[in-house]
Amino acid sequence: MSRVQEKINLVRFHLDHKSHITIDPEKCAACTTKPCLFACPAGMFTLSEEELLYSHEGCLECGTCYVVCPKGSVDWHYPRGGFGVSFREA
């Protein structure tokens, strides 16, 4: 398990089946730099055989992904009320 994943496991989430993140696969395929792969502090974006994969389960809700996205591909919004991350200490 990656170090980031171990840290994410310490955090409490109320998981929504519906993702609050969406991407445009065509824009991502055309993106040469893909800063989301390293800039997301939760490691939610990964690459599998050239295809960009993402998850919302573990998102810390900072918003860095859409700020770094050079293609305007990442559509990130707040999760539904009461869902997502619930910090106890932060």
Binding site: R3, V4, K7, I8, L10, V11, H14, T33, P35, F38, A39, P41, A42, G43, L60, E61, C62, G63, T64, V67, V68, H77, Y78, P79, R80, G81, G82, G84, V85, S86, F87, R88, E89, A90
Partner: protein, 436 residues
Amino acid sequence: MKQAKQFEVIVVGAGPAGATAALKLARAGRKVALLERGEYPGAKNVSGAAIYGMDFMESLIPRFSRQAPLERCITRKILGFMTPASSLLIDFKNDPAATPPFHGFSVLRPKFDRWLAEQAEQAGAVLLCGTTATGLIREKEQVVGVRTDRAQGDLWADTVIAADGVNSFLAKEAGLQRAFHPHEISLGVKEIIHLPAPVIEDRFQLSGNEGTALETVGAITGKVNGGGFLYTNRDSLSLGVVCQISTMMQYRAKPDDLLELFKNHPTIRPLIRGGRTKEYSAHMVPEGGWKMFPRLYGPGMLVAGDAAGFVLVTGYLLLGINFAMMSGAAAADTVLEAGQKGDFSSKSLALYEKYLNRYHLFTTFKRFKHTPEFVSNPNVQNIYPEFVCRFMESLYQVTEGPIPGPAALGWSALKQSGLSAGKVAKDMVQIGRTFL
């Protein structure tokens, strides 16, 4: 179809800005809703965290520093200049800061924000948790409410105060805020590390509920502009790094790698030894200051707190919570005065500027409008910390040869760090322009 309005004011976001606004409005008898998307106020909120500016908080809530869930009063401030293997620390210990009026306190946001929102609730505000505002309701240009994801979720009011944080989708929807530039936003990543209170007190030379705030600049974040921080809580440490998003992109740095670099620095590692990480979090910080302020008001709407970019970074101060609370208070005062005239047009809400300046927000942010460039100057970020550490090292290096004088050592360290008289003079001009 126009619905009957349920509230006079809707405040979106129960952080320090929103809770303060709701508290003041409820005290004045206004019918106010305080919306929070988290399961409780503070569930989504992350900062260092330390709060400063206790005089305002005491005036807002009597006996604030006794009542609020604060962790430790900051009596020791450490500013660190770091290279990968050394550090020069400016360590200021100030005993009077342990007594009123205090400098500031470390806080845990989920506890602090929740308490502050409870004060608003006790004053009569209606706190609606688990409620995300999904958009604005407008009649022509005038904002008259918000859409939420509750059942029958449309809420109507005379005014909406957007205190919905750095990402403020409401300010963007209203056309008040533009898209961010990566150089004006930083990403903070952080861990809460548990240590027993007596260990913290011994390790940081503290008595009772005194606390330390340590902030560093230099190699800690590699070439990425940013710094590290460490605050003592009662029985935990808040430790993290803040990195400018543009340089993070430039060097393709992973934020958690930078956090690990900080934790493993020889100056930091012994301070957290034996500690157990309890939580990991991340948050964006609007660091652009004056130059990235949105338009702060529009017809039927005001913007406060991080949503308005009220974060001050000077290199030695890092302030946000106090400005968030002041702007919340100013927004409430604005709505109260506009309400007396029954006029919530943009022209009427321009009063917000007057009330913000009652707390000198514009004066302060204008004064420090060049500090974001100063703080992200690569020389300030990396070269000067390297220079001072190199100089200190040479100062204490005794060999069998003749011992050089300090001036010669300083000159040599300057050259070794890639600096020249010309470059230093240029930076001095920038320092003068920034701070004088």
